[in-house]
Amino acid sequence: MKKNTFFLIVGCIALALLLIFWYSVEIHAPLLIEIAFFVGIALVYLAKRKVTDIINDERDVKITEQATMRTMQVFWVVFCAFSIGAVMEILRVPAFPRQAIGTRPPDILPPRMMGYVQLGLLCLMIFLYVGFRIYYAKKYGDFEIDEE
């Protein structure tokens, strides 16, 4: 398979996932998009294995490794900070023993907000990865000008 065909397939899968996402929001079925996402990514990986004109040499692998490692180094701190906040929601106990029965202390992080924060985290991870990838690609000579 040619490289351009692969990119076309990835584009089609992304479009299909977007439509499924919209539909699952409409019918309020998060499981649908979750399963579709797994299937979509599996299809991308399968298609990538069929590509013949992409050479992944050791420098590419090194750039990917370094970018992934740095992304994880930053991301896990932010993710853990958020997760600790979420765990506090689970472990929450009333602050005062005389608190009236039935009243709840205010939510530290309401469930709806958790979705937004997770979306933000996802975007952060993508931006971090792209940023680090550009940095390491530049460091290992990707944007060097050839005088040939």
């Binding site: 050791e58 590419d60 740095r70 000579g141 990707d142 060097e144 050839d146």
Partner: protein, 72 residues
């Protein structure tokens, strides 16, 4: 790590693309090595020097100042 890939390429009348195809890497990798932006693995260094039919020391010059562990 300094290298003489460019000289050997000129001697063999090879383009970066030719050399890259012959040893199975991207042209950008050859360019990065020539510009000393990337230190190749031992495996790739051997492949390059074998391709030119010379010893590894003739193509790559080890510089004491070059860090062996590349800081990120």
């Amino acid at each position: 790590m300094k290298n003489k890939i460019k000289i050997f390429r000129a001697m063999h009348n090879l383009t970066q693309e030719n050399l890259a195809q012959a040893i199975g890497v991207n042209r950008q990798t050859i360019l990065a090595i020539e510009k000393e932006k990337y230190i190749p693995s031992l495996d790739l260094a051997f492949k390059i020097s074998r391709y030119f039919g010379v010893n590894i020391e003739e193509v790559f010059i080890y510089d004491e100042k070059t860090p062996t562990l590349m800081p990120a």
